[in-house]
């Protein structure tokens, strides 16, 4: 980022600027059908009213456990899945229900990185063909031909440009993820949605890819939405973090605020559940242990989704859904009894 207002600390990004991506009340309900006539008997509310903004040059982390809707959210933003409700506005264009033909030009600016570097690359195509495909699909003319452009991309992600003619199986897992990233970068996107970009990789390789993503962001002025279940990776890579649970955002804040003074009980529990690779302070950490598993998104708890596992839950949590409100500057929480908050109860 070169603009003067963001030259300082990352957290001081001016909120008055136009967001690159604005998501409002986004929802995706997958119908559940039964019987011969495929009667709809219910819906999996994978994403159920999610709102957030992503500003240019920042990284928003989406964390949560399985079934929280983070992956679906990523697919809704990039319109791989058609939203049931709400809106997605990208660079001022409302793309919520835009037709595929009208959305195609916008796809250049909005790319996705997937988790599995083994299955997301076509094993019969060379690396050159894979990374060069976006040029062909979008019909883009490159200055010195596609081959040159692809080789530049390979070099950019730390691969040997000479390996242009090799096949995916000749590369290791980490290198394959680099190939995936190179393909993503081909069209110089503005926004990249990365769904579990490192979770299939070995520990030592994860760090390489995390560093690469950070370097590329600095070099190419990219904006990221990173979806991951690993809270440590998300803390490292994100500027702001949204914690999701059963299709809802529970808490959304700058990363330091979120990790050091979490306000939602679920965030507190989530953070205290992560094992720390250190022996100092072993046994002295405060532990919050949740009972049971995440409830099924087919039949989520009424009102506050977390009320069935929350130790603070009261009658009001089971009857009135807490709205996502800004309890502190740039710190939104959806809870009736937030943690780390002066005992001024709303309402």
């Amino acid at each position: 980022m070169n603009s003067p207002e963001s030259a300082g600390e990352a957290a001081v990004k001016a909120p008055t600027r136009e967001p690159l991506l604005a998501v409002t009340g986004l929802a995706k309900h997958f119908p559940v059908t039964k019987g011969l006539l495929k009667r709809q008997v219910g819906a999996v509310k994978a994403v159920d009213g999610v709102s957030f903004e992503v500003f240019k040059g920042e990284t928003l982390g989406l964390v949560g456990e399985s079934g929280c809707g983070k992956t679906t959210t990523g697919r809704l933003i990039t319109r791989l899945v058609e939203p049931t409700g709400g809106s997605v506005v990208f660079e001022g264009h409302d793309i919520t229900h835009m037709s595929q033909s009208r959305i195609r030009p916008l796809r250049r600016d909005m790319q996705m990185i997937f988790q599995d570097p083994y299955s997301s690359l076509n094993p019969r195509h060379t690396v050159g063909a894979i990374v060069g495909a976006p040029f062909r699909i979008q019909g883009i003319k490159t200055e010195h031909g596609i081959k040159k452009a692809v080789q530049e991309l390979l070099a950019l992600v730390g691969l040997n440009p000479e390996h242009y003619n090799r096949y995916p199986h000749e590369f290791s897992g980490g290198q394959r993820q680099r190939i995936g990233i190179a393909r993503t970068l081909a069209l110089k996107p503005k926004l990249i949605v990365a769904d579990e970009p490192v979770s299939a990789l070995d520990v030592s390789i994860q760090a390489q890819v995390v560093n690469l993503l950070e370097d590329l962001q600095n070099e190419l002025d990219l904006t990221y939405v990173v979806i991951a279940h690993d809270l440590s990776v998300v803390r490292h890579i994100s500027d702001r973090v949204a914690v999701m649970y059963l299709g809802k955002i529970m808490e959304l804040a700058d990363r330091r605020d979120l990790y050091e003074t979490p306000r939602h009980p679920y965030t507190t529990a989530l953070l205290s559940a992560v094992p720390i690779p250190d022996t100092r302070g072993r046994g002295s950490r405060t532990r919050v242990r949740l009972q049971g598993d995440v409830p099924s998104p087919l039949n989520p708890p009424a009102a506050c989704r977390f009320s069935t596992r929350c130790w603070k839950a009261d009658e009001i949590c089971r009857t009135v859904e807490p709205p996502l409100v800004e309890l502190a500057p740039r710190h939104q929480v959806a809870c009736h009894f937030p943690e780390n908050t002066p005992a001024v109860q709303p309402g």
């Binding site: 390789i205 994860q206 760090a207 890579i237 094992p275 250190d278 072993r282 598993d293 995440v294």
Partner: protein
């Protein structure tokens, strides 16, 4: 087995264990000279990346490798008995009874066509001559003990009717049903959500205390071993590269690979300003382990060994008080690197 072998006085001791697989592409040396000791009531964490040989080791201890396609040599002593030279029938009699295992993915590790109860009953009745009714009572008791609500009803459910966390609990119940003295957990929480992982780790810690079993926990996650282990063994390319207490490994690690693992992991509990310190390159293929020190192609300090890195396999030598490391770098140079280059960056991360 050679005649001069002396029986081990430890509860579990591996001596120079080698597990090699001949394949069409060459000899895969999955485990290549592994030794360690473990006492009852203690936990050993074995850490490594994919292909380090950590899972092959655990299957080797249980004697689960097919002797037709695996070459196993060395010694495995369990409570005074050597297992590598024992008959398969003898080792089978120990499996499930004195040594048991918990696997990574409880959905695929349980038979989809039999109820959870049936599978526990079966495990119990292999080693105990009791009626089905008695074994069933025991199964229900075990399910209750690992924290499954309504065990008397859930005992008749099939694995797919359990949630992920409950399935892993049931798997633990199955492993513990014969009161084993050695329990091996291979990536027991990798397939689970983080809040459920915390529950399972707590459960394993409590149960180990109750059963006073020796526990081996195999994982790629340094956080998990830090939570549970007394001792830690770091594996790379089929060999132990560093061994010590948990404090040794996390506070004064000696091996550049261990440094690399620590530097690769972002920390949940610190606000980082630095880039991560990854290890360059990728883990080696076990068919083609680099000569000399297997780690030397990825080691940032290999040029300081005077060419020994690629020429000689370093010995696993003791630094102090049981802390061992397999590295060519002189001890004082290692300490200097750790203090001046690695530690400050890790603390800042």
């Amino acid at each position: 087995m050679s005649a001069e072998t002396t029986p081990s006085d430890a509860f579990l001791e591996l001596r120079d264990l080698r597990i090699h697989f001949p394949t069409d592409d060459g000899l895969v040396k999955s485990v290549d000279g592994l030794s360690f000791r473990l006492e009852r009531g203690k936990t050993l964490g074995i850490v490594g990346e994919s292909g380090s040989g950590k899972s092959v080791t655990s299957l080797g201890i249980l004697g689960l490798h097919n002797r037709k396609n695996a070459r196993v040599s060395g010694e495995i002593w369990l409570d005074g008995a050597e297992l590598v030279s024992s008959t398969q029938e003898y080792v089978r009699g120990l499996r499930g009874k004195r040594m048991a295992m918990i696997f990574q993915d409880p959905l695929s590790a349980m038979h989809p066509y039999y109820t959870v109860g049936n599978q526990i009953i079966e495990a119990y009745r292999v080693h105990h001559r009791v009626s089905k009714a008695v074994a069933r009572k025991h199964a229900i008791e075990m399910l209750g003990r690992v924290g499954i609500p309504n065990p008397a009803q859930r005992v008749d459910d099939y694995p797919h009717q359990f949630s992920g966390g409950m399935r892993q609990r049931a798997m633990i119940a199955m492993a513990l049903c014969c009161d084993p003295e050695l329990l091996i957990a291979d990536e027991p929480t990798t397939a689970l959500d983080v809040t459920v992982q915390a529950q399972i780790l707590d459960l394993m810690r409590d149960l180990q205390r109750d059963f006073n079993a020796a526990l081996i926990i195999i994982t790629h996650d340094l956080g998990v071993v830090a939570e549970l282990s007394d001792d830690i063994l770091v594996m790379y390319g089929g060999k132990c590269v560093e061994y010590g207490t948990a404090e040794n490994i996390f506070e004064t690690p000696e091996h550049p690979y261990t440094w690399g693992l620590l530097g690769s992991m972002p920390r949940l509990d610190r606000e980082s300003t630095e880039r991560l310190l990854p290890i360059k390159g990728s883990p080696p293929s076990l068919i083609n382990i680099p000569p000399g020190c297997a780690f030397h192609p990825r080691c940032s300090y290999a040029d300081r060994t005077g060419g020994k890195g690629s020429a000689e396999v370093p010995e696993l030598s003791e630094v102090r008080g049981g802390h061992k490391v397999r590295c060519h770098l002189p001890a004082n140079e290692r300490h200097a690197i750790w203090e001046s280059e690695i530690k400050p960056v890790l603390e800042a991360q």
